[in-house]
């Protein structure tokens, strides 16, 4: 009951500022005649017209497909490589300078390079997202693996766990609180790169829709694209938090008990 109460309170505390901002935007823009800042009410009408559901199949679905395909490929590679490198510190020393160099390149700037390799297909966008999503997960996995408790590894050995079990039942879960923080950063970067990759040479996707709208002075449409991106990004984070909390319930429970 107390848990429920505190959740409701946290929700109420969190919600008042967004409501205030939306209300402020709504009233402030109500009488706007500036073509670049249309009234929020008009944006909202156009939003309903565009995104429930007329343009969803041609613009939202491609974006989500590229995002998820790229994200999952990227984090799978990130966890695997991070695990291999983190478990072998002697090997990883040779790779660290390269990794540090590559991850320092702003991911959005790499999109043209991917165009060189893959052309303007969806593969290019997925590859760019995958590579960008890989690095934060790779680094956090390496960090999580370095801190593996030797007692845990000994336990695995004396019970003759297979290398697969050692990896997925012992080392990965042990590192998972740190890995999850990398996965979240990866998701945020993957979202940015997904949208940015659509700006070049694509007719489909939310990023393409927004860019094309601006280029053709469909300002209202462009605004609905921006609002949609905001809502989508927010929804992704909420879903991510839920999955993370479910997956780390053992860790959260343990910490709560200790405090």
């Amino acid at each position: 009951m107390r848990l429920l109460n505190s959740r409701i309170i946290r929700f109420l505390v969190g919600i008042w500022l967004p409501i205030l901002l939306i209300w402020w935007w709504w009233t402030w823009s109500a009488d706007s005649v500036d073509p670049f800042f249309p009234p929020l009410s008009a944006i909202w009408e156009q939003f309903k017209f565009n995104w429930i559901w007329q343009y969803v199949p041609i613009h939202v679905f491609p974006s989500l497909r590229n995002l998820f395909a790229g994200y999952f490929i990227g984090i799978f590679a990130g966890v695997t490589l991070g695990a291999l490198l983190g478990a072998n510190p002697r090997v990883s020393r040779y790779f660290e300078p390269v990794i540090d160099f590559l991850r320092s390149i702003p991911p959005v700037a790499t999109v043209p390079v991917f165009i060189l390799f893959f052309g303007l297909d969806a593969q290019m966008r997925i590859a760019a997202v995958a590579v960008a999503a890989c690095f934060p997960t790779l680094l956090s996995t390496m960090q999580g693996f370095r801190a593996t408790d030797p007692t845990l590894l000994d336990t695995g050995k004396v019970f003759r766990l297979t290398p697969f079990q050692m990896m997925w039942k012992v080392r990965v879960p042990n590192a998972s609180p740190i890995i999850w923080s990398g996965l979240q950063v990866s998701l945020q970067i993957a979202f940015v790169v997904t949208i940015a990759s659509e700006i070049l040479g694509s007719g489909f996707g939310i990023g393409a829709f927004t860019t094309i709208s601006i280029d053709s002075f469909m300002i209202l449409d462009a605004w609905t694209g921006v609002v949609l991106l905001g809502l989508l990004g927010f929804a992704l984070n909420v879903i991510f938090d839920l999955v993370e909390r479910w997956s780390l319930r053992w860790y959260i429970g343990q910490k709560k008990l200790a405090s």
């Binding site: 007692t151 019970f159 079990q165 429970g253």
Partner: protein
């Protein structure tokens, strides 16, 4: 009687950047099938080192260890281990049931058999119904019971324990000591336990191996001729118990 474990002329040196530490020197002894053997010695003498050699976690620099006549190079099938630090040897992300199930996954068991084993092991250690709990929701003593249940579930013929009761309170310790005696009776399991608690060694063992010195040698193997069943109240007040603990204590301290 058959010999479960034979330690033949085992020496162990650790090579560190600062030089070589010679920990064990020509250690030999044999554990008879079904016996309860304790290894005692002062802190830092090399008890854990010896246990790591026995469980295949490390290789001796000289000599050999035979488990049921076979020289070991990795962890032998027939042997299960309970470590001192249960908080770090049970997986906090797995429920009690899944912790016990993990080593069973590699044995050829049906799902039902596996379930059966888990239930039976938990019943053996007095933790019926704790399947879905996480280890960290249990007290220290209960966690160590889970470790014992996990070891028993693989149906080993040899149980090896490193200071299993060092981090629990005195009452729990007595309960767990009686638990391992019961386990030994129920399964006829050969048990090898490392401890620094001499009373505990005398109370539980058929034989006590005393390690002493730097590098450590087997100072003596003491037969505990107190009949089973033993009980905390009576055995610990037995005159023979007092004699033996004084004798072993003297050797551990290097006074005898």
């Amino acid at each position: 009687m058959a010999i479960a474990i034979a330690v033949n002329g085992v020496s162990m040196e650790y090579k560190t950047p600062k030089g070589t530490t010679h920990v064990l020197d020509n250690v030999s002894y044999e554990v008879q099938d079904g016996h309860f053997v304790s290894i005692v010695g002062p802190s830092g003498v090399g008890k854990t080192t010896l246990l790591r050699l026995l469980t295949g976690l490390a290789q001796p620099t000289a000599g050999e260890i035979l488990v049921r006549g076979k020289r070991i190079s990795s962890s032998p099938d027939d042997l299960a281990v309970v470590l001192q630090d249960y908080t770090r040897s049970l997986m906090p992300w797995l429920s009690v049931e899944k912790n016990i199930a993990l080593p069973l996954k590699n044995q050829k068991l049906t799902k039902a058999e596996r379930k059966e084993r888990i239930t039976a092991s938990l019943a053996e250690v007095g933790l019926e119904g704790a399947e879905s709990k996480y280890p960290w929701q249990l007290s220290g003593g209960m966690q160590q019971r889970v470790s014992i249940a996990r070891a028993l579930a693989v149906r080993p013929s040899i149980l090896v324990m490193d200071e299993p009761f060092a981090s629990v309170d005195a009452q729990t310790r007595f309960d767990l000591e009686d638990l391992v005696l019961k386990v030994r009776d129920d399964f006829g399991i050969t048990t090898l336990m490392v401890t620094h608690d001499i009373d505990e060694a005398v109370y539980l063992s058929d034989e006590i191996v005393v390690l002493q010195g730097k590098p450590a040698k087997v100072r003596d193997v003491v037969k505990v001729d107190i009949p089973f069943p033993r009980s905390q109240m009576e055995t610990r007040n037995d005159a023979r118990f007092a004699d033996l603990r004084t004798h072993v204590y003297g050797m551990v301290r290097g006074l005898e």
